[in-house]
Amino acid sequence: AQSVTQLDSQVPVFEEAPVELRCNYSSSVSVYLFWYVQYPNQGLQLLLKYLSGSTLVKGINGFEAEFNKSQTSFHLRKPSVHISDTAEYFCAVTLQDAGNNRKLIWGLGTSLAVNP
């Protein structure tokens, strides 16, 4: 079955430390990849996306992600986190199902907690 796996449900980190949130997907066809952030009691906001071209994509708030086709991964990174980065992060991938229909599949989310 098509799936998106976020390997860490919770990531605690100290302020100004680097962070990596991992995302793997299962697909053998071309995909579109997204990272969204959800701050407490708010909707989802796009951080960054990969559609084609350079495999390293930069997003808002200093985040970046690298698409690795051979490892079917799209890990999110930030070199130095801030308290305000505390939020839920969702990886989402547009995958093609057996009927050649494209569907957006969501990971279960990673809760990033930045501590002072």
Binding site: Y32, F34, Q42, G43, L44, Q45, L46, K49, L51, F90, A92, T94, R102, K103, L104, W106, G107, L108, G109, S111
Partner: protein, 114 residues
């Protein structure tokens, strides 16, 4: 980009009643979706709202329980019918202009059924 207005933002409802959630987009979009998000969990797609035709429901969701309308390219409603406490959740409206573009989200409707 697109701005999505969703209302109500929250409601507390009696079991057995129904609630209709409205979703208004500030520009024409190709696709509109309704999601459910349990507290602290990921998004579960309820259905794709199709303009001028019946919505496409995901496994585990049926039209009788979650009737959806989409009369035009900028507006959709989701009704949660005959509610029970198990329907307590956040309901999110989403829209995009194609599967290779980003999805935009409303702020969500926090529903509590008592």
């Amino acid at each position: 980009s697109a701005v999505i207005s969703q209302k109500p933002s929250r409601d507390i409802c009696q079991r057995g009643t129904s609630l209709t959630i409205q979703c208004q987009v500030d520009s024409q979009v190709t696709m509109m979706f309704w999601y459910r998000q349990q507290p602290g969990q990921s998004l579960t797609l309820i259905a794709t709202a199709n303009q001028g035709s019946e919505a496409t429901y995901e496994s585990g969701f049926v039209i009788d329980k979650f009737p959806i309308s989409r009369p035009n390219l900028t507006f959709s409603t989701l009704t949660v019918s005959n509610m029970s406490p198990e329907d307590s959740s956040i309901y999110l409206c989403s829209a995009n202009r194609g599967m290779n573009t980003e999805a935009f989200f409303g702020q969500g409707t926090r529903l509590t059924v008592v």
